[in-house]
């Protein structure tokens, strides 16, 4: 049974799965809703998805397509900040953070925790659910 004392762990290891067709309805949207439904979950970001928790000062979630300005593209950092504010615990895996270099790694969103290799896996028994999404 998933409770705030026995939370679910959701891992995301595939990133950038569609922008124009996805807009607000990306995987973080689902996970934010699950965070609300479950009373607080843990989100672990791996691979390229660690960049969801790295500030992107030059990114505007907007493109011009013909006469249309589509300004509703996914904004994963905003989603992660919101989830942190709403009580989710957000992890990034250190190995993947190191891969993007020290400058980018220094922009890790405040409140995000880092996990050493294997650290989270060794805790899987303590989570009510372990889901890759």
């Amino acid at each position: 049974m998933t409770t705030p004392q026995n939370p679910a762990l959701v891992l995301v290891d595939r990133a950038y799965r569609g922008s124009v067709e996805t807009q607000f309805a990306d995987v973080l949207y689902i996970i934010r809703e699950l965070n609300r439904q479950t009373g607080g979950l843990h989100l672990a970001l791996r691979g390229h998805a660690v960049t969801y928790a790295v500030a992107a000062p030059e990114y505007e979630p907007s493109v011009h397509l013909g006469s249309r300005t589509l300004d509703t593209l996914p904004d994963p950092r905003r989603s992660v900040r919101t989830m942190l504010d709403e009580g989710a615990t957000v992890w990034v895996e250190e190995a993947d953070l190191q891969r993007i270099g020290p400058k980018a790694a220094s922009r890790l969103l405040p409140g995000t925790r880092t996990a050493a290799p294997g650290e989270l896996a060794l805790r899987w028994f303590s989570y009510s659910q372990v889901w890759f999404m």
Binding site: D13, R14, R46, G47, P117, A121, L122, W124, F125, W131
Partner: protein, 108 residues
């Protein structure tokens, strides 16, 4: 929960996320947990000798490698083609483990 069953569906040798998942299995086995890696769909290729060193390490750490028979057959692989310590099983085996209250299952 006393056992962990990790189900991998992509070929981890061609999927960074898949290889990381096998590393998770390795960490768990190395820590002494009874851990099985069930390879289904394209992940059965990871049971070929030399395909992925992490799988050999996992076996060396006490892990168990199970290979979905149908996936292997569909991909022209026979048990003789695979690692000697990999065990080919039917989908019914996965179902049984999934229904076992002592087994925690994680699917990747």
């Amino acid at each position: 929960m006393t056992e962990l069953l990790l189900v991998q569906s992509d070929d981890p040798a061609h999927s960074p996320g898949g290889e990381r998942f096998v590393e998770d299995a390795l960490h768990l086995a190395a820590a002494g947990h009874h851990t099985s890696l069930f390879l289904v769909d394209n992940a059965v290729f990871a049971a070929l000798p030399g395909a992925l060193p992490r799988v050999d390490e996992f076996l060396g750490a006490g892990g168990h490698v199970l290979v979905d028979a149908f996936s292997a057959q569909q991909r022209s692989l026979t048990p003789d083609d695979l690692l000697a310590r990999a065990r080919t099983v039917e989908m019914d085996d996965l179902a049984a483990r999934l229904l076992d209250p002592q087994t925690k299952v994680v699917w990747h």
